[in-house]
Amino acid sequence: MSDLSGRHRGHSYYEANARGRITHLLDAGSFREILGPTERLTSPHLELLGLPCAFDDGIVVGHGRIDGRQVLIASQEGGFMGGAVGEVHGAKLTGLLELAVQERPAAVLLLLESGGVRLHEANAGLIAISEIIRALLAARAAGIPVIGLIGGVYGCFGGMGIVARCCDSLIINEEGRLGLSGPDVIETTMGVEEFDAADRALVWRTVGGKHRLLLGEVQRLVEDDIAAFRSAALETLEQPIQDLSLEALEAEHQALSARLTDYGSCQDATEIWSQLGLHDPLQLPLLDIQSFLKATCKIGREGA
């Protein structure tokens, strides 16, 4: 069995690619890929458009172990079309979630990095994301925990932002971004006055890991280190499974209603942080993770 402290301290999650993340997250040598690149399963739509294809269509799926426990794992490759979901990419993920119901692993780990629907095969991509959502919730209904990890260059947006929030629990780093419409999409459509996507500080305090934790949209904020993600995933595995019962969803409903009532008129994340009773909200983005968690530990986090 591997140690809980993580065996590969010092590997940035943000900078790693899809395969590197899997390698360092799971027990050494335990990963076995399903439909790997040797199968040369590529997108027929990209081929039709004369565009470059990837032999894994931008997602790696397979079996592995974490601290000796059997898991299924999927990892989206931001380096290929921003991790966007096309027909094949989506079907690999849906298949993995359906496999979970048969195999009953300790968990399904989803390493999410995606801009959402792949616009080059938009119609197939949209349906594929809907299929992922249904398969994910079916796995949860069968009692399999689904844990999402977010922290790559491209963040987690579009339909995959909805998929993320269908997981039992989410782990994010400070660099991780989670939302629905990306800042550049909002700027392009609604104008720079609505959302200035070039204002990096604004982007991070609106959709970044720290704000998502304070809001209760994610459960764990970790250093940008794959070992830290591993420890957080193991911690999450120790928790009771979040069920999809009427009572659980009524509780979520109350929390989301309260959030809208309390912060619905806020224009900036710093206003929300201030209302949460945090001292010196303007300083929060500057704090390192440990200091940030210490400064905000009194906040009752939804669903944490």
Binding site: H45, H63, A91, L119, N123, A135, A141, R165, A269
Partner: protein, 237 residues
């Protein structure tokens, strides 16, 4: 078609559906009994308030009328694009609606959708696409993005995309394309109330969209790829 005209055709025996701020909630009589009706009108963009209002209705139906079928009437231009919605975590609100619908399904509520206006991206994902069966009127507009916008973003020539759209249903908007891909189950051209009664009479049979996409030759790989993954036991990785 306006939503009022639509409901007149769908529910000749009458309905009690309220329209408030372009959000529809209520009930209707059908030959198969009373059903719950929810949805959107006037191409409403789904923001945090809309998602919460629809989720509120789903929770109420599950609490007060266990097992009652839910019909979703879809007309949405997509998710609301705003910094404020993102600040509040709009993806969490849409996911909440999705989870409420799944919970209703798990508790035996039949879920049906009818796209009568627009059905676009995140707005469509958050409710209409969650149904056991998704149907559409012939003039419904189902899309992610139109071809000129796609040409701009993908930097591919518009003429090329237009030409390819006749060969593949994955690119251009349109209800026929979504039908071919399996994303729409069938198109209801007439006899809406009969079509609804028939759909209510069928049993939910899991997510059939990949099989339908394959049968209709719109998505030739999705079914096979997901099956290949599920066929991989722990020893065959």
């Amino acid at each position: 078609m306006t939503v009022e005209a639509l409901m007149k055709q769908l529910f000749p025996a009458g309905h009690a559906v309220q329209i408030q701020g372009d959000i529809l909630t209520g009930s209707a009589m059908t030959p198969k009994g009373t059903i719950a009706v929810m949805g959107t009108a006037n191409h409403l963009a789904v923001g945090v308030e809309t998602a919460l209002a629809l989720a509120d209705f789903v929770l109420k139906v599950v609490r007060e009328w266990p097992g009652r079928p839910i019909l979703m009437l879809v007309d949405t231009q997509g998710q609301r694009l705003s910094k404020r919605d993102e600040l509040l975590g709009i993806n969490g609100y849409l996911a909440h609606l999705v989870k409420c619908l799944e919970m209703a399904r798990l508790r035996g509520h039949r879920l049906l959708s009818l796209v009568y206006g627009e059905a676009v991206s995140g707005g469509f994902l958050s409710f209409g696409l969650m149904a056991d069966e998704i149907h559409a009127l012939p003039d419904a507009k189902v899309r992610v993005m139109n071809l000129p916008a796609m040409a701009r973003i993908t930097k591919l020539p518009l003429a090329m995309l237009e030409e390819l759209s006749s060969a593949s249903p994955s690119f251009a908007p349109g209800v026929e394309n979504f039908l071919q891909l399996g994303g729409v189950c069938s198109i209801w051209s007439d006899m809406l109330s009969e079509q609804l009664a028939n759909a209510l009479g069928r049993q939910a049979a899991g997510d059939q969209r990949r099989q339908q996409g394959l049968q209709r030759l719109g998505r030739k790989l999705a079914h096979q790829v997901s099956q290949s993954v599920t066929a991989c036991g722990p020893g065959d990785g």
